[in-house]
Amino acid sequence: MLDFAVIFVGIVLAISLLLNVYRLFLGPNASDRLLALDTMYINSIALILVYGMHSSTTLYFEAALLIAMLGFVSSVAFAKYLLRGDIIE
């Protein structure tokens, strides 16, 4: 039952990532693309955790933590660039 649930959630997350890629390519302006990227890294954290459960190891949790931190910092930096035209003033 757990194997089935893990595979089902993996497929659902892959479809979600494809929807995000659709918005990333189609997005009419830069803020839409930035929102799509922000959602993509959250979804990829979930995918990494599910893959860690699939291969029954806890090694991937550190990678998920790194993605969470760097994703936030890059999103804020890019948004700041769009907002002010500069990152560090």
Partner: protein, 131 residues
Amino acid sequence: MNDMFEIVISVLLVIGGIFIFVGSLGLARLQDFYTRLHAPTKATTVGLGSVLLASMIYTYATEGYITVNVLLITLFLVITAPVVAHILAKVAMHHQVKMIPRTRNREMVKLARKQLPPTATTGVEEDGRLP
């Protein structure tokens, strides 16, 4: 791992997957940027929280201890998701991204772009609704 753990983990995983899918579907399907901003920032946070809870229970069931990493990811995500949403809304207002016509209080965007407070109102509009 006994059956109880397995059922709880599976239910949490499926709930998380469905929430994340709904968030991404909203991101792909909704009409303008401000409505699209709602879908991932709420639904995806709940979904990822559910998946993280499932993986925490999974670690406890297989290894016998509770990992702090997963708790850290949850905490970090709950703190940072509203911050990113707020900054993205500010970016969209700064770039004057188009809104759908049904958006309420459109005139406040001008003041918000200048970072001024909204003008004082009497508290109740003409038709009796709260502003």
